[in-house]
Each structure stands twice: as structure tokens, then as C-alpha cells.
Amino acid sequence: MSTSNEERLGELLRLLPEAPTGWVTAAQELPVARVELDALVERAEADAAFRASVVADLEVAIRATGVEPSPVVVEHLRKRLSP
């Protein structure tokens, strides 16, 4: 194998460093988060007072389910609860 080929392979390997662990973990937990949010939405649809409290502070409501309220999760819940 020529040196230039080794260098090219090395260059390509360098292009893909690890993504931050926290990002990967959060993405891997998405299916679990969806289950928690489904339960939250279901309860909000059945209880107007609970719904009002959730809409008043989405981040607090999400955190209470044990899910990290990332911007993507908050936006997802906002859309689901919008009239």
C-alpha cells in the first residue's frame, strides 16, 4: 500500500470524530421520551386543568416526566398540544 493511500484513508477517518456523548444518549432515549410524552398528552386531553398547567410551562411538565426538555422535545409537545 502506498503512503498516499494511507494518508488518504487517515484523512477520511479524521473527518468523522465522535459526536458528543450527551447528544448520542439523548437521541437514543427518544423512543422512551415519546412514550412518556404520549402519556402526558393523553392525560392533558382528558383533564383541562392539567392541560392548562402543562401549556403554561412545557419545560417543567416535560422534566416532571423524567425526560430532558430539549428544544426538539419541547417543540414536539407544543405541536401536539396546539389547538
Binding site: N5, R8, L9, A26, A27
Partner: protein, 188 residues
Amino acid sequence: MISAPDGELSDAQLVAGCRKGDPAAWNALVERFSRYVSAIATQAFRLSEHDAEDVFQDVFAKTYERLGSLRSDDAIRPWIGQLTRNCCLDLLRSSSRVVLVEEPEERIADEVIAKLDEAMAVRTSLARLSPECQEVLDRFFSRDESYRTIGAALGIPAGTIASRISRCLGHLRTHLEGRNPAAAPSSE
């Protein structure tokens, strides 16, 4: 359920596992494409860490929601690549950073993405090498660790790291050419 090591499963097998609701398949899919999505956001579109994280989570949320609409399970990589590209452009447009989404800038981003596609092909082959080769190549190239650090971590003399890297690169190239000749890097 997923039982084989991540590197032994094809993209299509991972997608099929995700569709069945297998958590291990989803974890492996996120792991497999995390570097690619992150690199598109930070290298092709030069997003800040904060914006890149938003794009990263958005891409995987949409991937999870839309896997059912994927026409070919084998096409998950270009599909995620396009999804990431669109999420980056949407973020830049919504932030009024129009200067970065003009046509020449998009073309430059696409050139970087093409290079990242080539890098993904190399990583696919890397995942099929021995664990020892994967470790030493990843530590040296992706994590930018010194011979001394690698030697200490793996319990081998630092003086032998260079020859191991060269030998493993040889295995990688052989594997890359054998599996997919079109994906082998040119010797320019």
C-alpha cells in the same frame, strides 16, 4: 432482537429492527450515524455547537418518526444525509443567516458532504476489522491521540503503534476494495 455486533449488521437490518421497535437496533442506528450527522452540521454548514446539537436531535427525531416512509431500507444513509442537510438549511434560514445559504455556500456544503459520504464508506469497512484494529485506528485518527496515550491505554509499547496503524490501514484498504471497489479512496 439485535444480537450481532453493530458492525456486522447492514443498514437495512438496523432499519428493519427499528421498525419492529427493537431498542437495541435504534441505539445502534443512532450510534452508526451520529458522527455523520454531527460532521455535516459542524463541518459542511459550520454550525455552532448549540445549533449543531439542535440539528442533531431534530434529525434523529424525524428519523424516528419517518422511518416508515423510507422507500428502501438500504438507502438510510443518503436519506439521513439529505435530512440533515435540510435541517441545517432550515435552521440557517429561520435564523436569517441568509449569507450562509446562498447557492455558492450550498455548493461548498455539498462538496463537504460528498467527502463525508466517502468517509462513511471507510468507517463501514473499519467496523468490520478486528476490535484491535478498530481501536487503534479510531484512537489515532478520530480521537487524535498520541502514540504514547494509545500505548498506555492498550498496554502495548508506544514504539509499536506506528507499525500497528500501518498494518491496520492495510487491512482497511484491502477490506474496502474487496467489499466495494467504488468506495475505495483514490491514490491522488
